[in-house]
Symmetry: C2
Subunit: 335 residues, 2 copies
């Protein structure tokens, strides 16, 4: 079966191909009579414009690229799903890619997207990938950074991330309110902007609250080593630590496991508050309290900002999202 082209439609409708094209694309300045005529023929012949040709000619593609560290990670698949929803609603298709926190993957994904004619990207950057973002800019792309920021200023780059200061403050306030003051942090030493700023704010806010003497950040070297977590928990309990603030989602799960393994109770012996654990926190016993950056909000705000940058030519902004506190049993007040 030969494919129907715009020529066939134009001939059948008795108009020029240019006119037909304008009708498909809803351009202004076409008489109502012609619109109807063309649309009727289009429907009758079951015609769908060849996108490849349109893209090639116009250079405009209603497709965006999304890069997260890992599509299989529940937090990022959550965001991805929301992006998918919004994009389809707006007539956009989405290309997803995972970076595994590696610059080379981000770089090659940007090349792939570029070859595909993509002009807008939503991306969770990894460490030191400023140069790769600049490459995207050179390709003429607009970029919105999700969840993490980068040390760069460019009007073609926007950022949508959590207000980390407010997030950490909310967590500490909540703990103090429920009677915990000897609050330590457990994290690993990936050099992510989010982690760094959360560590800084933890220190700052603990000082502010007059809890400076309890400040302690337990740095995990190898996240895979259960024994390392066990050891940190054991020593912390011994020195009288009352609560752990854990700025990495899955890490809180491991800490829970270690606490239970040591025969200790949550929160009676040690309380826990994590970040962005979602469903996984809710199925734990006890359920885990958390500070949350809404995946839906992240997706919506990022997409909207990207659209404004691509279509309205707005400069990229820096948007801080409000954290939300989800209270579980792991930080219950002990009477």
């Amino acid at each position: 079966m030969k494919k129907t082209t715009i020529k066939d439609i134009a001939k059948e409708a008795g108009v020029s191909v240019g006119l037909a094209s304008m009708v498909f694309n809803g351009k202004p300045g076409v008489s109502q009579k012609n619109i109807e005529k063309v649309m009727a023929v289009m429907k009758k012949m079951n015609y769908t414009p060849n996108k490849a040709a349109a893209v090639l000619r116009s250079g405009v593609k209603k497709t965006i690229g999304v890069i997260t560290p890992d599509l299989a990670n529940h937090y990022f698949s959550d965001i991805s799903r929301h992006i998918e929803n919004i994009a389809y609603e707006n007539g956009y298709t989405v290309l997803f890619g995972s970076s595994d926190e590696r610059r080379d993957k981000i770089s090659s994904l940007i090349d792939t997207f570029n070859a595909d004619g993509i002009k807008g990207i939503l991306l969770t950057p990894c460490e030191d990938c400023e140069g790769d973002i600049m490459k995207a800019i050179r390709y003429g792309m607009k970029v919105v950074l999700m969840n993490r920021c980068l040390k760069m200023e460019n009007e073609n780059v926007g950022t949508v991330m959590l207000d980390n200061e407010k997030a950490i403050r909310t967590a500490i306030d909540h703990l103090i309110e429920n009677g915990y003051s000897r609050i330590e942090m457990i994290t690993n030493n990936e050099k992510l902007s989010t982690l760094n700023s959360r560590m800084d704010f933890y220190k700052k806010i603990m000082e502010e609250k007059g809890l400076g003497k309890y400040i302690r950040i337990n740095l995990l070297k190898d996240i895979e080593k259960e024994e390392e977590v066990d050891e940190i928990v054991r020593l912390a309990y011994k020195r009288g630590t009352e609560a752990f603030l854990i700025p990495r989602g899955y890490l809180a799960l491991y800490v829970c496991k270690s606490i239970k393994k040591l025969g200790l109770r949550i929160p009676e012996d040690i309380a826990i508050i994590g970040c962005d654990g979602g469903q996984s926190y809710r199925i734990m016993t006890p359920t885990v309290s958390e500070i949350r950056q809404s995946p839906r909000e992240t997706a919506e705000e990022s997409f909207t900002m990207l659209m404004n940058m691509m279509k309205g030519d707005a400069p990229g902004e820096r948007l801080l999202l409000e954290p939300s506190l989800v209270i579980g049993d792991s930080t219950k007040k002990i009477i």
Copy 2:
């Protein structure tokens, strides 16, 4: 910045554009010298071919569509991630879409994919979507069904799914071996091919083992209602049930919660074996045993089958995957 084109590469390398094109596409009959020359220039100028132009001219698009019920579901995001990996390795890009188990979404996703010129789809079907698959076939697409089958025979449709009989047999054997024989099933009443066949095999195999008198399938009406699960567990325990076989991944998590809520122990009071829980089963206390359909294998086999159908013109096959048993603490032998 003006985009680099094949012309620039050809000029820089001192060859014709046709020759350059042949090099990019690995066509035979180009001298080694020229291959190297062109590749070097290509790398130097950081060139990526414009896909829209290639697609337009050749009519061949290296993009496939993937439809799962929900990208945010950990099992499907796992599969999606593996598909992403394999596809990129093979020079394919992937468009993802979620169906929410709804026919209309599958149907409109197929239309979207069609307008994008996609000729191959990997899809986890929902109930009664045979007609939508047929539409895809009419568009000239090849389809591989993942995880679930459909009541249809068509050479353009392949299926990659778990060997459910073997899976259920493995689960029951494992339970019996560890001393559990009063085995009941808990599931919900979605009309999915997978669930139906798992229920049938549960009955069949229990009979085979001479355990027919213990057969009981507890059907959940509303998965959201915790009380319903609580009640099922309570009654089952009362009547002496020793183990639950749960053919839906997340459901096992709820059952665990109910068991704990009733003050019972796993597996001492009631053992549990689930399906495809992955990470979520591993962070539970106790860890949950499971029967698993490998997401990686599913992704690889589906992709390979689709490629064979699209390129080699092979007919769609029906491939049954081997289940694997992951032993956790929830089915430990009680001494």
